[in-house]
């Protein structure tokens, strides 16, 4: 047990762990990660670096932070940090509360009285921590001994809390159109859960009541608020308002405003036989009044791709989306095999697919308008707002807050209040004064010199 403890507390172990974590983080930066890169980006990278992608798959380098080896690494580091913190706490306690004069304390002889020494050293900001007969021990910033311990404890608390969050967190994202309801247990647009998180199921259905967005004259967002309701199976409703930097808590769930928002276009296409194809296109809100946002859609029963773009204002005068313009193109995409390359040692073949697009028709629609659209008639039936809602359930965030404040206190004590002490031991008629600083001694030597000068002045009077 002691050997394991010694190994974990060894400076070389700590250094090795820091280097390994650093290497893991750099690897996570170089290898595209599953949760930040799109499937296409991952595929492109794998095609470009087949050798590395092979190792990437074996070691899970495309999801470094969720691999078991990274968890073990972080946990080992946390244990070393905790053990080191415990040692430092013991050391700090000893230093702060120990009584007695250190036997190795030896310094400068002064011929001053006990009272003069007490007054002078106290005036210099030191406090009498201990006295044993004529012998005295003064400390300045005695709590400074706790700086390192607290700094390390703070980091340990933050890492523990982060691990707890990562392991237990549940997080789900939905995009909801005004008036629509997301059922409890519905399919999330994006779901992330920790190893111990389990499936994320909402206690009740969620209905979006209203999405309000205000813009500055520069087209940037001024404010965004969303009103939604939890709708229980018994019909009971609990209404909430959220916004940017305004989240709510409901039965342990925290709900945030999503970053995406836009308009939902209810489009109806009808062919010459009168058959209708109805769909809703959710498009992001454009960034500027004269810029469009884009989206491609494939409708069941229609053998073409619908390429759409949308301007917030048909006249391009405002950004508020009150009179939006939807432009749709009916596109036929023909795919053919362009060629095959590769083979060689790795035996991987790469096929180039050539896509040819032909625009068959184009139509611009305002809400309520109906126009011919190639072999169809298109109608923009209705436009509504949609917004993103983020639901989370996690434990551990208070740990991050606590760690934050512990680090601040630790840092302040370590770097702004390094402890200094003066031991005064009776020697003959005078005293022997020994000074030492726990850290940065060279920077505070003058402090002791000034004390000696003052004592000298008092002695010569």
């Amino acid at each position: 047990m002691t050997k394991i403890k010694q190994l974990l507390l060894s400076r070389k172990t700590v250094l090795t762990l820091i280097l390994l974590i650093l290497a893991a983080v750099v690897t996570g930066y170089i290898f595209p990660q599953k949760f930040t890169a799109t499937g296409e980006q991952l595929q492109n990278w794998q095609d470009a670096y087949p050798f590395w992608s092979l190792w990437g798959n074996r070691l899970g380098l495309d999801h470094v932070y969720t691999t078991p080896w990274f968890a073990v690494l972080l946990l080992t580091f946390l244990i070393t940090l905790l053990l080191s913190t415990i040692e430092q706490v013991k050391f700090s306690y000893r230093k702060t509360f120990s009584r007695g004069i250190p036997p190795d304390a030896s310094g400068v002889n002064v011929s001053a009285s006990r009272e003069d020494i007490i007054v002078t050293i106290r005036d210099a900001g030191y406090r009498l921590a201990f006295h044993d007969g004529p012998n005295l021990r003064f400390i300045r910033h005695r709590w400074g001994h706790w700086g390192n311990a607290l700094l390390h404890a703070g980091i340990a608390v933050v890492i523990s809390a982060s691990l707890l969050i990562v392991i237990t967190e549940k997080r789900g994202l939905i995009h909801l159109v005004e008036g629509d309801t997301f059922p409890a247990g519905g399919q999330w647009l994006l779901e992330e859960t920790g190893i111990l998180g389990g499936r994320f199921i909402l206690p009740d259905a969620v209905r979006l009541e209203r999405s309000d967005i205000e813009f500055w004259e520069t087209d940037e967002i001024k404010s965004q608020t969303t009103v939604f309701s939890f709708v229980g199976a018994d019909g009971k409703e609990a209404r909430h308002k959220i916004g940017i930097n305004l989240n709510v808590n409901d039965r342990g769930l925290r709900i945030y405003q999503g970053r995406s928002f836009g308009e939902a276009f209810y489009v109806s296409l009808s062919d010459s036989n009168g058959k209708e194809f109805n769909s809703v296109f959710n498009l992001d809100h454009p960034f500027k009044r004269d810029k469009a946002s884009y989206g491609n859609f494939v409708l069941e029963g229609i053998p073409y791709t619908l390429k759409t773009k949308y301007y917030a204002d048909a006249e391009k005068r405002t950004i508020d989306g009150k009179d939006p313009l939807l432009v749709m193109r009916l596109v036929r995409i023909d795919q053919s095999l362009g060629g095959v390359t590769g083979g060689g040692k790795e035996g991987r073949l790469k096929m180039d697919i050539v896509k040819k697009e032909k625009v068959l028709a184009e139509v611009s629609l305002r809400a309520g308008e109906k126009k011919p659209f190639g072999p169809y008639t298109a109608k923009l039936v209705h436009v509504a707002k949609w917004t993103g809602l983020i639901f989370t359930k996690s434990t551990g965030m208070p740990g991050i807050f606590a760690g934050f404040f512990i680090i601040i206190i630790g840092g302040t004590l370590t770097y702004f209040m390094p402890p200094r002490e003066i031991n005064a031991v009776k020697e003959g008629e005078g005293f022997n004064l020994a000074w030492k600083a726990a850290k940065f001694g060279n920077l505070y030597e003058d402090e002791f010199k000034r004390i000696l000068e003052m004592l000298d002045q008092k002695g010569s009077r």
């Binding site: 400076r11 700590v14 250094l15 820091i18 280097l19 974590i21 650093l22 983080v25 750099v26 996570g28 930066y29 990660q33 949760f35 930040t36 932070y65 700094l151 980091i155 933050v158 982060s162 969050i165 997080r171 500055w216 520069t218 940037e220 967002i221 001024k222 404010s223 965004q224 916004g243 940017i244 930097n245 989240n247 925290r254 945030y256 970053r259 983020i390 989370t392 965030m397 991050i400 807050f401 760690g403 934050f404 680090i407 601040i408 630790g410 840092g411 370590t414 770097y415 940065f440 001694g441 060279n442 920077l443």
Partner: protein, 291 residues
Amino acid sequence: MPARRKESCGRFREKREMNDFMVYVMLHWGAVVVYALATVLNVYGLIFEKDRHEGASYYVVYAGLALHSAAVLYWWNITGHGPYITRNEVLSSDAWIMLVLFLAFFRMFPRIKPASIVVFPATFLLIALGLFFNPELQSLPPTFRSIWLVMHISFYKIALATIIVAVSFSVFYILKKRTRISWLERLPELETIDIYAYRFAGFGFTFWAIAMLAGSIWAHQAWGRFWGWDPVETWSLITWSFLGLHLHLRRFFKWRGERSAYFYLACFALSVFALFFAVHAGISIHSEYFK
């Protein structure tokens, strides 16, 4: 509103904005000139051991600081938000905080005075660099209305300032050890320079940690996610780990003096990359706002 009146209102607003920009830019250039003058006096005083010139440089730098502060406050009043949105605002406030912190630390630790030879020119160079990124009026995104964001940004600025002081002492150490430049004799002995470098490196490490944590609390408040491994966050963590590594190598593996100074130069380069260039290293929440 009739079309003609609307047009004249628009023109009036444009003209007023032009005036605002002009006042802001002029105040900044004024500060650059005054800081440059202070630098000349300071460098001359330090190198040729002219105490009068060195002393005068501080009066001049305070005058520059007054102009600079006026520029920052003026723009704050116009934009309605602190100096942390556009590149120009960021660089200007970085320079301001660095100088103010140096002057404050100088009161606490008078022996760091020679670091002015790095801090003064760095101040006016940062502002001048900022002026090349044309100032623009940008509204405050609603996500930015959070005290945690203010702490996040302020502590990074403070960390940068302390890192610059630490790197100054690292450079002084190397120069003093390797060369026989006479003015370096005015610096404290090598051991003390080394300790100053260590102490300010410690400040940098702590402030960087606080900045990073404030950022994660802000992100949690805004999006329910405290860490997203985006390029800026990742590089910030890498830099912080290197800063921590530096302290550990120094404390436990006796990497003192020159070796520590060289290692810290690498840490400094990393921190500059993390603060100013990582934002261009990929798409992220950070890049959306600062690119």
